[in-house]
């Protein structure tokens, strides 16, 4: 809402027996000061009554009748609000405010009276920031930043894993980690082609997209068993070492042990209670426990609880998603080895049994929101690493097939081709993910800079007005107010600094 208040007229309202108009000029921020009992809060009360149809403080004390000033006989109590937009109008003791205005006012938080401001000042730093973000509509902006950050973090994690897989493939082919890897691999293939009497591919791309087929290999009908055995050995060499993100497990366990997580199950119930209170405007007892309390206090308490629990539920979802990714990685590691085990059985090799997977336990923990024992994952990773070593050894222990030199050269070429295709796939995957991560990083950085600039501008405006008002309230102190720039995106501060000779006064949070 960007409307500004221009004028307020009160008639037979609170301490105003007749009619009192108040002009707000252009509707800029202003300070109202005066002795106790001179009517500062009456202005706030009039606005609250107009926008909400009640005065919370009076309702709380059971003194709604005090809205009306009866010293002027039977004249109706009237408040008229003039704005530069469509929110203005009139409320009287005989006419309720427009429904749309009441609905709109529920979305806003007003910091009007000294008492409300005192409550605000007494809030913690994070509560103040939360209230300010709500007033300024910053939650949606921050929500998008978090989504961009999440996409970036997921890509970073997967790009790292893809990079490790590519490195393992490169090592199994004896290729350099950086530079000349493609040239080296192509040279190896050409050398193997020469040994096998096969026309070499013109580029590595021809090997990857299979436009180059070593037809001589299939024409000479080499031992399928030996080819498969070598291919299996290559696949085992290219297996990424088993490792799981234990920080996701720790974060999940910590979240579950927190008080918010324990309360998340009450969210549905409280949402129902919130809806119930909205649909029954007269209700003034808690729909959950029956306790009586002033309606506005009850509505606010339920709404605060719903907001808090929604945040906790979102955080729990994030932790669940991270743990789900660990579960997916675990399943992928297991499936890769099961496939290799099947290939080994087809070749009549005796591979060891795969270790018992904690997959089902992990899924149950996710489903039933239970903590995960970290040892279950670290033990499994260790057992998988032992299995990898045993499987590689099992492949190497098979005696080489009795074949002539030509056949060995063709087998060597076939194995190299298989490994090369895997290397190209891993390289493409790692490159694609790294490029996507780069895009995400650029977008996130640019968005964060824009967000910081935007929020800074708003906070500087607030700081500037605070400084102006402070100067006007303390004209004899010779203070000069200067708004301070907020800091980092995640630690924005709102400060105003007032300097006078050697003394400095800072206010804000």
């Amino acid at each position: 809402v960007s409307e500004r208040l221009h004028r307020l007229v009160m008639k037979a309202f609170r301490g105003v027996p007749g009619e009192l108009p108040v002009d707000f000029g252009e509707g800029r921020s202003m300070a109202v000061f005066g002795d106790n009992g001179t009517g500062k809060s009456t202005i706030a009360d009039a606005l609250e009554w107009y926008f909400t149809g009640q005065i919370e403080l009076l309702s709380h004390e059971g003194r709604q009748h005090a809205i009306r000033n009866v010293t002027n006989g039977s004249a109706p109590t009237v408040v008229e609000v003039v704005t530069n937009g469509s929110l203005g109008g009139t409320i009287s003791s005989e006419q309720a405010p427009a429904a749309g205005i009441c609905q709109l006012s529920r979305k806003e938080t007003f910091l009007l009276r000294g008492r409300t401001l005192a409550d605000f000042i007494n809030k913690t730093k994070s509560e103040k920031w939360k209230a300010l973000a709500e007033i300024l509509g910053l939650e949606e902006i921050e929500g998008l930043r978090q989504d961009l950050e999440r996409a970036h973090n997921d890509l970073r994690k997967d790009a790292k894993t893809a990079g490790q897989e590519f490195k393992a493939c490169s090592e199994s082919l004896g290729l350099p980690a950086k530079g000349l890897a493609e040239e080296t691999l192509l040279a190896k293939i050409r050398e193997a082609c020469e040994g096998a009497g096969v026309s070499p591919p013109s580029s590595l791309q021809n090997v990857g997209d299979e436009t180059w087929q070593p037809s001589v290999v299939s024409n000479r009908n080499p031992s399928t068993h030996a080819t498969d055995l070598q291919a299996l050995g290559s696949a085992l060499d290219g297996l990424p070492p088993p490792a799981f993100d234990m920080s996701a497990v720790d974060a999940w366990n910590q979240m579950l042990s927190s008080a918010q997580a324990a309360d998340v199950s009450r969210l549905g119930l409280l949402q129902e209670a919130d809806s119930f209170l909205q649909s029954s405007p007269d209700g003034s007892s808690c729909p959950l426990c029956g306790q009586s309390m002033p309606r506005e206090e009850l509505v606010q308490q339920v709404r605060d609880a719903v907001t808090g629990l929604r945040e906790a539920a979102k955080e729990l979802d994030d932790r669940r998603s991270d743990l789900q990714q660990v579960s997916d990685e675990l399943s992928a590691a297991e499936t890769r080895r099961q496939t290799l085990g099947d290939r080994a059985r087809a070749l009549e090799l005796s591979f060891p049994q795969l270790p018992t997977s904690p997959r089902d336990v992990l899924r149950a923990c996710l489903r039933e929101r239970k903590p995960v024992a970290p040892a279950a994952l670290t033990d499994f990773a260790r057992s998988l690493a032992q299995w990898d070593n045993a499987a590689r050894q099992g492949c190497q222990d098979v005696p080489p097939p009795a074949s002539d030199t030509d056949q060995n050269a063709i087998l060597e070429l076939a194995t190299l081709c298989e490994k090369s295709k895997g290397w190209i796939r891993a390289q493409n995957n790692a490159t694609r993910l790294e490029k996507a991560r780069g895009f995400a990083s650029q977008i996130l950085k640019a968005y964060q800079e824009r967000q910081t600039a935007y929020v800074s501008k708003i906070l500087q405006q607030i700081s500037g007005r605070v400084a102006d008002i402070y100067e006007k309230l303390h004209p004899g102190e010779g203070l000069t107010g200067t708004p301070s720039s907020p800091g980092r995106p995640k630690a924005l501060s709102w400060r105003s600094t007032f300097t006078a000779r050697a003394s400095v006064l800072r206010t804000g949070f």
């Binding site: 694609r432 650029q442 950085k445």
Partner: protein, 48 residues
């Protein structure tokens, strides 16, 4: 969304069409699906 539009014009080296595709996607997806959808779009464009 306006902030994101400005941020996308600040960022250099992004592929053509990324900005408009991202904004279109964010207007369609609900909050819960957004991170996965953003990631999918970026991967798709990185693979081209």
């Amino acid at each position: 969304m306006e902030l994101l539009r400005d941020a996308l014009s600040d960022a250099s080296g992004l592929p053509d069409g990324l900005g408009s595709s991202l904004l279109e996607l964010l207007n369609k997806k609900d909050d819960k699906c957004r991170p996965a959808a953003i990631r999918e779009l970026l991967e798709e464009l990185a693979g081209e």
